[in-house]
């Protein structure tokens, strides 16, 4: 099979124009079942020894070869080349967000700083367990989906928030945080990680995610970081950390639809920033004024849908039971 591998190269330490990003085409003949990584290794060994990339296991375990293939992050070793050829070409770029060291190799400092920032170890608060702590199978099975993370950085590469704001904790670190907030051994005797949830509810944490699904799409191991972030929002609200715009927004949205069937767009932003938050409300005034002048303000009187009683009954019926403690039956805390 003949294919052109189009690589975005860069050598920031070069003194000539190679210090800036440029594209280089490598026409190669590869086996039908070759991966993108196979093709890159072949190029490095046969055609151009100066092409830099990271790789090790070649079987989606080590997490070394995350890069952008046709614009989206993934593992080169897990991507069969003939499934991603577009008009005879596969484009390969270094992972996004993190700075390029050379060619397809990026600097992971930012990635590890964020993992460290969420204290990636069990923190039990309260008295020491009297004996061995046996966690239930269900709890561990649930956690195994998150512990499948191989730290490849594909999610960080494609995160739409990190792209504009490097202070965001980001999908990998937040998925790692969930690995602990959902662990019955972490937090207090009930398994509630109060301290973590408080810290994660602060700016740069769970509420800064845009729910764009890029990380879910990019993750080669099915960790679904965004889904974990959403689960932590629920945990944080249940733990009582609801005094922020994000929690108020979710709350006001759900109440509005639960009560009337549709969204009350006029009142939602007011309730999200807080009724008494005059500076924030004033901040929206120019936007509201421009919209009004163009005749596009949402209706002042918000109408209910037909048979709204049915919606309200569904709302009542689907309210979650009071949070069940996540401690396993075998808890040594009794």
């Amino acid at each position: 099979m003949d294919v052109t591998i189009r690589v975005r190269r860069q050598d920031p330490e070069a003194v000539d124009e190679r210090r800036l990003p440029y594209w280089q085409d490598y026409p190669v003949t590869i086996a039908d079942n070759a991966t993108v990584l196979d093709a890159l290794i072949q190029i490095r060994e046969d055609d151009d020894g100066t092409l830099s990339l990271r790789c090790s296991c070649r079987s989606a375990i080590c997490g070394s070869c995350a890069m952008r293939i046709n614009g989206h992050a993934g593992l080169a070793c897990k991507t069969i080349a003939n499934t991603v050829i577009q008009d005879g070409v596969i484009t390969v770029e270094p992972a996004g967000v993190m700075p390029v060291v050379k060619d397809l190799v990026v600097n992971f400092d930012l990635f590890w700083e964020k993992i460290e920032a969420v204290d990636p170890y069990l923190k039990h608060i309260g008295r020491e367990p009297e004996g061995e702590y046996i966690v239930s199978n269900d709890a561990m099975l649930h956690l195994s989906s998150v512990t499948a993370c191989i730290m490849c950085g594909a999610c960080v590469s494609d995160c739409t928030v990190l792209e504009v704001d490097p202070t965001f904790l980001g999908p990998a670190a937040l998925a790692k945080a969930y690995r602990f907030t959902a662990d019955p051994r972490d937090g207090d005797d009930e398994g509630v990680s109060m301290e973590r949830l408080w810290a994660l509810s602060e700016p740069t944490g769970i509420w800064d995610c845009t729910r764009c699904n890029e990380c879910v799409q990019a993750c080669p191991k099915g960790v679904a970081p965004m889904d974990r972030i959403m689960a932590m929002r629920e945990q944080a609200i249940q733990a009582g950390y609801d005094n922020n715009n994000g929690a108020r927004h979710t709350d006001a949205f759900t109440e509005s639809v639960g009560h009337s069937g549709r969204l009350d767009e006029l009142r939602l932003p007011i309730k999200s920033v807080g009724m008494m938050n005059l500076p924030a409300l004033m901040d929206y005034m120019p936007v509201a004024f421009r919209a009004m002048r163009r005749g596009k303000m949402p209706p002042i009187a918000h109408k209910n849908v037909d048979n709204v009683e049915a919606v309200r009954r569904i709302f009542d019926r689907t309210q979650p039971e009071p949070a069940a403690p996540k401690v396993s039956n075998n808890s040594p805390f009794g």
């Binding site: 704001d165 699904n213 799409q217 759900t254 949402p298 048979n307 569904i314 979650p320």
Partner: protein, 310 residues
């Protein structure tokens, strides 16, 4: 990126058959972006697509309710689907976010136990959802069911003077599993195909499937505005006359908040943002006024001059 023509198949035998859908307009097309609803109806009318609104439809939850109470959100979607099933019609929506949330809910309801639980909450109203609904955005319907060839025959004013950039946003492209992208790979190029069919020059850019920033508008406005500023200025600098989106929420942020994003970015942007049906309507010879272009925050004046000036 090269856009490959997609074979839409021979639909000549269906040419005159009227098509009818259960219409799910979504809250924003009648709220924050009220110009979308009439524009979509006008364009569908011209195409012979009959829209019968689902009576008493509710919000899909927009992914927000799902963070707090997924069961409630999904039950609301099942309720809308069940109502459409009673009408005996497939669902058409004009909102990408609604599309994504409906598809995700539908995907979860493939689990028969979950579906049964949801149906237990619908029984009181005499509704039951079969699990077989396939809600589709107008964009997908045009390409998969109506046919681009058929739409092409209705174009009376090809937009040859215009350079148009696509903006999908998130919900109509991700997650691919819930959106059946593997079965329908053409969905990932649908906007580009439409832009070219309407005669405009495609301005392709990487940001077309990124986030517009709307979901965090009230949570982290600075980041939200940075996203608006990044996408709109990038496209402006590529020489585009406008950006077109199938998502009214993206429109709210990219258009309504563009002046604020521009001031944060300390530059002028002034990039008109069009709803997808508006762009189709322009190519069908409808006037900018009747399509509601005057309701946009960023002036569409320069673009209208280009269309008129031939």
């Amino acid at each position: 990126m090269i856009i490959r023509p997609y074979t839409v198949g021979d639909r000549s035998h269906e040419e005159d058959k009227p098509v009818k859908y259960a219409f799910f307009p979504g809250c924003v097309s009648q709220g924050g972006a009220p110009e979308l609803y009439p524009a979509a109806r006008m364009v569908c009318d011209r195409m012979g697509i009959e829209l019968e609104e689902i009576p008493g439809w509710t919000c899909t939850g927009a992914g927000v309710i799902q963070e707090k109470n997924q069961l409630f959100g999904d039950t609301l979607n099942a309720r809308n689907f069940a109502k459409a099933e009673k009408m005996g019609l497939p669902i058409l929506t004009i909102c990408s976010t609604c599309q994504g949330v409906m598809s995700q809910a539908n995907h979860r309801m493939r689990d028969p136990e979950y579906l049964a639980e949801i149906n237990s909450h619908l029984a009181e109203e005499g509704l039951e959802y079969s699990g077989n609904s396939e809600p589709k955005h107008l964009l997908w319907i045009l390409i998969e069911d109506y046919g681009l060839d058929r739409l092409g025959s209705l174009i009376t004013r090809p937009l040859t003077e215009l350079k148009i950039a696509p903006f999908y946003g998130c919900y109509i492209v991700r997650p691919t599993e819930a959106l059946d992208i593997e079965e329908h790979p053409e969905r990932q190029q649908s906007l580009e195909m439409l832009i070219q069919l309407l005669g405009a020059t495609l301005v392709d850019f990487e940001g077309k499937t990124r986030c517009c920033g709307f979901p965090i508008l009230t949570i982290n406005q600075r980041n939200s505005m940075a996203m608006v500023g990044k996408h709109t200025s990038e496209v402006k600098d590529l020489g585009a006359d406008a950006m077109v989106t199938p998502c009214p929420l993206c429109h709210l942020n990219l258009d309504g908040f563009q002046p604020k994003a521009a001031s944060q970015a300390r530059r002028s942007i002034d990039l008109p943002i069009l709803h997808m049906p508006q762009l189709i309507g322009l190519a069908m010879g409808m006037s900018p006024n009747e399509l509601g272009l005057k309701k946009h925050i960023v002036s569409t004046g320069p673009l209208e001059v280009k269309i008129r000036g031939r």
